[in-house]
Each structure stands twice: as C-alpha cells, then as structure tokens.
C-alpha cells in the first residue's frame, strides 16, 4: 500500500492510540465494561492494522513470529499459574484470597488483574498469530486488484 499516503499517515497516528485504548480496557476492566478478551483483540488490531497498511515484515520486526508463539502459551500459563499458586498456598484452585491472605478483597483485585492479563496476552498473541499465518501463507492480492 505504498501509494496510500492518507492510510499510512492515519495509521501511524492511530496505532499508538489503539494500543493505549487496549491498555485502558485491560486495566480499567474492574470499573468499566471490558477486560482481557476485548483488550486482547484491540491490542491485536493495532498490530494487524500496522501489518496491513505497511508490511508484515515491518510489524514482525516489532513482534517477531517466535515471540508471538511464546506469548500464546504464556497467557494460559499465567492464568493457570495463578490457580496453581493458590493451590500451593493451601487455598482452592483459583481462590484469589491466597494472593493476600490478610485481606481477601485485595487478593481478589490482584487475582483478577493477573488472570485478565493472562487472557489479554493469549488473545492478543493468538489473533496476531492467526493473522501472521494467513498473510504468511501466500502473497496478498496486489493493490490494483481490490
């Protein structure tokens, strides 16, 4: 899309804001609508948009394929790890009171923050990985054909 000047300029402006909004949705999910799933998708959209307008090669310099594949598993591990941690400290699986035994309500906040982060990481990485798999499979249709 080398000749789409407006798209390129607008994308450069928007990508940062999209990421910021994704982080807001992620960490403000306790207070407003949103959470890991939505934030993950929005974050992935920032990378996918950049990859569509510029090139996959350029976005893969920021987020390489190997890193995406590791992140896919990391999110699930964070989620399950929270549960295993609470089990190891003598609580039920995924009982967040384990994270702050003297103040269970704080533990809930920490637990929700952790598992939402896990969800967000996995969803971001899976969406980006699927996009990479699609665009890596064959060259995109040339601009003129659209």
């Amino acid at each position: 899309m080398r000749h789409h000047l407006i798209l390129r300029v607008v994308t450069k402006l928007l990508v940062g804001m999209i990421m910021l909004f994704a982080l807001y949705v992620q960490f403000h999910g306790d207070y407003s609508p949103g959470g890991g799933f939505q934030a993950g998708v929005i974050m992935a959209v920032a990378f996918i948009l950049y990859g569509l307008v510029f090139s996959v090669g350029q976005v893969q310099q920021v987020l390489p394929v190997w890193l995406v594949h590791k992140l896919v598993a990391l999110g699930v591990l964070i989620y399950a790890g929270t549960g295993v941690y609470s089990m190891l400290t003598g609580y039920a699986f995924l009982d967040y009171a384990a994270l702050s035994p003297h103040h269970p309500s704080h533990g809930q906040h920490w637990g929700i923050l952790l598992v939402e982060a896990g969800v967000g990481i996995t969803v971001t990485a899976v969406m980006v990985a699927i996009h990479y798999a699609f665009v890596g499979r064959a060259p995109l249709i040339s601009d003129e054909e659209w």
């Binding site: 896919v72 699930v76 989620y79 637990g111 699609f134």
Partner: protein
Amino acid sequence: MRSLFAVAMLSGAFSLLSALLFVTLDAVDVAFTEAAVGAGISTVLMLGTMALTARFERHASHSPALPLFVVTLTGAAIIYGTLDMPNFGDPAAPVHQHVAPEYFERSPHEIGVPNVVTGILASYRGYDTMGETAVVFSAGVGVMLLLSGLRRRKRKGDPDEDTQNKGGKA
C-alpha cells in the same frame, strides 16, 4: 451477490449493528466483544481468507430451493422458541431470580470490584474463563498448525518472485 468482498463488508456492518443492539439491551461487555471481534478481527480474517482463495463465489450447481426451505424452517423454529420468553427487562424472569441476586449481594464485599461482570467472569466463574482461554489457545495452535506449513519456505524466497508465481498460477 457474488462478490465475497461485499459479503465480508456486509457481515462486518451487521456485526456492528448487532453490537448496537447489545448496547440497547444493556449488555455493554457483550457489545464490546461483538464490535471488536465480529466487526474487527473477523472481517480482517475473512479478507485474509479471500486473498488466499477467491474473491467471487462460483455459481451453484444445485437449485436453491432446499437450502431456502431449511433456513426458513430453522428461522420459524427459532421465532417459535421466543414466543414464551419473558418480556425484556421483566424482573420476574427466571434469569433474574436464580443466581444473579446472590452475585449482586455478595460481590461488593467479597470481590470489591465495581464491575460485577468482571467479578463474575474472573472470580466466581474463574474456571469457565480459564476454559475459554484454553479454547482460544487451542484454536490459535490449530490454525498455526494448519496454515503455517508453507510459511517457512515462502519467507526464504524473494517476495516479488512469489507474487509472480501466484499471478502465473491464477
């Protein structure tokens, strides 16, 4: 309508409209997901699929009568199923009588998170959400296994050369 590009765009617009519908029903979290996933990612992935396959639908070899009959029958069955649904916003509806009051009563002092939906998803229903994350994980792994087989070879070659090859084949 044979142009799959138009179909993909229309389904994206439909997703956005159903997100508005969810907002009207006060299900803001669902609307958020629908707008982000349905209108955003799905459209991009459909466009990606079109770039790999074809941009126009082939003419069907069979008559459309049977599919139309099946769709009409299913639609009629679904509408029949909604006839005995409680009215929208009815406080006596079964869904508001079962566990919801308990969550609303216990959530403020047990979880302390203002957004009850987040509290239910991440804490009371933590197992379910972990299952959903695992589903997303396995879906991603499945797509990677299915689609990334050719990628290693493609990336070594010159991208311009690949374009020419593809153009020659098509």
